[in-house]
C-alpha cells in the first residue's frame, strides 16, 4: 500500500544546476566529469580514428611500422612525496602509458613550466631522478622545452612528457577488446601512490609510512607479451580514478560486464587503514606502478605465475572476470557475500563528515 504523504512533512529539493560555466577540479579527476569534458569538447573538436579509441595512447602506422604515442602532464602537489618525486613520476607515467599498447617505449620529450622563485637545488634533484628513471626504463629524453611563469601563476613546477614507442608484436591490445570469459588480473596492491601523496599533502602521519608505487612497467609488460601476447586483450595502469575508473571504461568500451571479488583485491594494511580513516574507497585511488589486464581465461593462471616472477608483479592475482550480461557495469562481490556496483567516479572523492 502506498503511504500517504503528510502535507506538513512534505518537502522537496531544488532543481538541478544547469552545469558549471567554469572548469572545476573534478574535470581533471579521471572520473565522469573529465570523461564528459573529453567527449563533449576535445573529441568532437579533434575527431579522428586514432583519438576516438580513447586509449591512453594512439597507435600510428607509418610505412608499415606501428608506433605508440602518448602524452601526460604532471602537476602533483607536493612535488616531493614518500617514495618519489614529480620527475620520476613524469618519466614512469608516460613510459607506462606508451607500453600499455604493448609497445617498447624509446623516446620521451620533457616540457617544464617553472614558477619564478622555485628552488634550483630542488629542480636539480628532480631532473636527476628523471635521468635515473629514464635510464632504468631504457628510454632517452630527446627533446624538451622550458618556460617560466610569474610567481603565483604556477605551483612550483609542472612537467609534461610525451613518449614514443615501437610496437613489435602483431597483437591488438585495447580497452575495446574485452571478451566475456576473460580474467581480470591485477599486478599488486592498490592505492599506494594516491594515499602517499595525500598523506604528505595533508600532513597526516600513519604508524608505517605509505610510499608511492611509482615504477616503469615496460619490463614487466615486455616479458608477459614475449611469453604469450595473444592472450592479452587489454592493459592499463590504473592512475587517476583508480582500478574502478579503468574497469568502468573497459566495460563501456567493450560493451561487457565485469565482476570482481573484494576479498581478492590486494591492499596494504596501512593504505586500507588510511582509507578507512579518511572515508575514501581504495578502488578509486590512483596507482603509478600497477597493471590491470584482461586476459583469455585459459591462460590467466599462467600469466599470473609469470608476473609473480618479477618484482613489479610479485603480488599479481586474478581479481575477477568479464561477463556477457550487465553490459557497461562493474559489480563486486563484497567480503560478506553481498553484491554492489562499482560505479565510475564522478569527480573528486570527497572526504566524509563522520
Amino acid at each position: 500500500m502506498e503511504p500517504k504523504i503528510p502535507s506538513e512533512l512534505f518537502a522537496t529539493c531544488p532543481l538541478p544546476l544547469a552545469g558549471s560555466t567554469t572548469i572545476q577540479l573534478g574535470h581533471g579527476s579521471g572520473g565522469q566529469m573529465m570523461n564528459d569534458l573529453i567527449r563533449g569538447l576535445f573529441l568532437s573538436a579533434f575527431d579522428n580514428p586514432y583519438l576516438s579509441k580513447l586509449d591512453d595512447y594512439a597507435v600510428l602506422e607509418i610505412n608499415g611500422v606501428r608506433l605508440a604515442f602518448s602524452t601526460d602532464s604532471f602537476v602533483v602537489d607536493p612535488v616531493f612525496f614518500p617514495g618519489g618525486n614529480i620527475g620520476e613520476l613524469a618519466v614512469n607515467g608516460t613510459v607506462n602509458d606508451v607500453c600499455m599498447s604493448g609497445a617498447k617505449p624509446l623516446f620521451l620529450s620533457a616540457g617544464f613550466i617553472l614558477e619564478e622563485g622555485f628552488s634550483l637545488a630542488e629542480l636539480q634533484t628532480i631532473v636527476h631522478s628523471m635521468r635515473l628513471a629514464a635510464k632504468k626504463a631504457g628510454v632517452a629524453i630527446v627533446t624538451g622545452d622550458t618556460k617560466v611563469v610569474n610567481k603565483g601563476k604556477g605551483d612550483k613546477l609542472y612537467i609534461n612528457t610525451s613518449g614514443l614507442g615501437v610496437i613489435e608484436h602483431p597483437f591488438s591490445i585495447s580497452g575495446r577488446n574485452l571478451q566475456p570469459g576473460d580474467a581480470i588480473l591485477l599486478s599488486g596492491t592498490i592505492g599506494d601512490h594516491g594515499i602517499a601523496v595525500l598523506s604528505k599533502r595533508e600532513g597526516l602521519a600513519f604508524e608505517s609510512q605509505i610510499v608511492s608505487d611509482t615504477v616503469a612497467l615496460n619490463g614487466l609488460v615486455a616479458n608477459i607479451l614475449q611469453a604469450d601476447g595473444a592472450c592479452v586483450h587489454a592493459m592499463r595502469d590504473p592512475t587517476r580514478g583508480g582500478v574502478a575508473a579503468t574497469l568502468n571504461e573497459w566495460a563501456t568500451a567493450s560493451n561487457v560486464g565485469i565482476r570482481i571479488y573484494e576479498d581478492r583485491i590486494p591492499i596494504k594494511p596501512s593504505v586500507a587503514g588510511a582509507c578507512e580513516l579518511l572515508g575514501l574507497d581504495p578502488l578509486y585511488i590512483a596507482n603509478e606502478g600497477k597493471l590491470v589486464m584482461a586476459v583469455a581465461k585459459e591462460k590467466a593462471e599462467e600469466v599470473v605465475a609469470a608476473m609473480r616472477t618479477y618484482k613489479d608483479g610479485d603480488a599479481a592475482v586474478i581479481i575477477g572476470e568479464v561477463v556477457g550480461d550487465r553490459a557497461g557495469m562493474v559489480s563486486m562481490q563484497t567480503r560478506i557475500g553481498g553484491w554492489r556496483i562499482v560505479d565510475m567516479p564522478v569527480g573528486e572523492q570527497l572526504p566524509r563528515i563522520c
Binding site: P3, F10, A11, T12, C13, P14, T334, G338, D343, I353
Partner: protein, 363 residues
C-alpha cells in the same frame, strides 16, 4: 586491521543471518537512522542478504542531506566574499544551493578549502589574520564536540577572524518527529553508535517507552549492523520495546560527559529546519549568546531568506523512510551524483547516492 576485521568476519555474518532467519516470523520495518549505516548496508550488500520479511528503511541521519537549502545559500554567499576563507568538510562542497554549489564558488575564485577537522580551520585562521575564516559547522551530536572545541579555543586564544556557520541537528528530536507522524511505518530503530558514543542512550529510553519501539544502539560494520537487526527483531517478535546497546565496545550509558559538557557550554538547543522534513522544534543546536562573536550569520549580517524548493525530488519522503531512492522517477536519470536534484544524492552517506553507487535498480 584490529577492531575492523573482526566485525567483517564472513563466518560471523553467516551465523547472524541464520539467527535472524530463525527468529523472524513476520514482516518488520526497521530504520537505520544514520547515513553511515546506510552506506555500510548498501556497500556490503547487507540488505540483499537479509530475509525478505525484514525491510530496512533509511533514516534522516545524513548531515549533508538535512542541512536546509537556505543555509547552503548562505554558505555560498559568505564563501564568495573576497575577504573570506571558507572551510568545510568535503562532502558539503557539491550540495546544490539555489543557483550554485561551493565547488563553483571555488572555481570562480572563492577561497574554499576542505578540512578534516574544525581545528584545521582554526589553524588556517591563525595563519591568515588578514582574512575572515569561516567553518561550516554542520552535523549531528557526533561533530558537535569538535565544533564546540574549535569555538571554545578561538575564544581562549582571542582569535577575532574565526567564525562558524552553524546548522547542528539532534537525533532524538528527529526520531520523535518521525514516530509521531500519522504515516509512520517504522517499528524498530537502529540508533547511531557514534552519536551515542557522545550522548549515551539515556535520552532514547523515554522514546522507546512512549512509542513502544525497540531502539538498539548499533555500530557500523557488517557484524554490528546484523547484530543490531537481530536485537531489534528479537524484541519485536517478543513484544518488547526497550533500548539495547549492541555497540558496547564503544558506547556507555551516560556517554562522554566531557564532550557533553563542552557542547553545553558553547551551544544551546534551538528549533531547526531539516531539509526534506521541515521545522522540528528543539531539534538543533545554535551558539550561546556569549559566543555570538563567532556566529558567521551575525557577523556577515545575512538576512533570513525563505527559499522555495521546487517539487522535483522526493527526498523528503526518502529521508522519512516513506519511499526508497529507486522509487523516485528522477533516480539515476535526471538525478545522479554528478547532477544531483537533492542532497541525498550528494554525500556518500546519502541514501540516494548509496543506492546509485552500489546497486542501481532502475536499469
Amino acid at each position: 586491521m584490529k577492531y575492523l576485521h573482526e566485525y567483517r568476519n564472513p563466518a560471523l555474518v553467516k551465523h547472524l543471518l541464520a539467527e535472524i532467519r530463525a527468529t523472524v516470523t513476520r514482516p518488520w520495518v526497521i530504520m537505520e537512522i544514520c547515513g553511515g549505516q546506510t552506506h555500510a548496508i548498501i556497500k556490503n550488500g547487507i540488505d540483499q542478504l537479509l530475509p525478505e520479511q525484514i525491510e530496512l528503511v533509511h533514516g534522516p541521519g545524513c548531515p549533508v542531506c538535512v542541512t536546509p537549502l537556505e543555509l547552503v545559500d548562505k554558505a555560498i554567499e559568505i564563501a564568495s566574499r573576497r575577504e573570506v576563507i571558507f572551510t568545510s568538510f568535503g562532502d558539503m562542497l557539491r550540495v546544490p544551493g539555489s543557483h550554485k554549489d561551493l565547488f563553483m564558488v571555488k572555481s570562480e575564485g572563492g577561497d574554499v578549502r576542505v578540512v578534516y577537522s574544525p581545528l584545521d580551520a582554526l589553524k588556517i585562521a591563525r595563519e591568515n589574520l588578514d582574512k575572515k575564516v569561516v567553518f561550516f559547522a554542520i552535523g549531528f551530536e557526533t561533530t558537535a564536540p569538535n565544533n564546540a572545541m574549535a569555538v571554545w579555543q578561538a575564544r581562549q586564544e582571542g582569535l577575532k577572524n574565526f567564525s562558524v556557520l552553524v546548522s547542528h541537528v539532534l537525533v532524538p528530536a528527529a526520531i520523535e518527529a518521525l514516530l509521531s507522524s500519522a504515516n509512520n511505518r517504522v517499528q524498530g530503530y537502529l540508533a547511531a553508535g557514534h552519536v551515542c558514543t557522545v550522548m549515551g542512550w539515556q535520552e532514547y529510553e523515554p522514546i522507546a517507552a512512549k512509542y513502544h519501539v525497540p531502539i538498539v544502539v548499533t555500530g557500523f560494520e557488517p557484524v554490528d549492523i546484523l547484530a543490531g537487526v537481530l536485537a531489534v527483531v528479537r524484541q519485536l517478535e517478543t513484544g518488547q520495546a526497550r533500548v539495547e546497546n549492541q555497540y558496547s565496545r564503544v558506547v556507555r550509558h551516560e556517554g562522554n560527559r566531557a564532550a557533553q559538557e563542552l557542547i553545553n557550554r558553547v551551544f544551546t538547543v534551538t528549533d531547526r529546519k531539516w531539509r526534506g522534513i521541515g521545522e522540528i522544534s528543539a531539534s538543533g543546536l545554535c551558539l550561546r549568546p556569549e559566543f555570538r562573536q563567532f556566529d558567521a550569520e551575525a557577523i556577515f549580517g545575512l538576512a533570513e531568506v525563505q527559499v522555495e524548493e521546487p517539487a522535483e525530488c522526493i527526498s523528503g519522503l526518502v529521508l522519512q523512510g516513506l519511499k526508497r531512492p529507486h522509487e523516485c522517477a528522477a533516480f539515476g536519470r535526471r538525478c545522479t551524483p554528478q547532477s544531483p536534484l537533492g542532497a541525498p544524492m550528494v554525500s556518500a552517506e546519502g541514501a540516494c547516492a548509496a543506492y546509485y553507487a552500489y546497486h542501481r535498480k532502475t536499469e
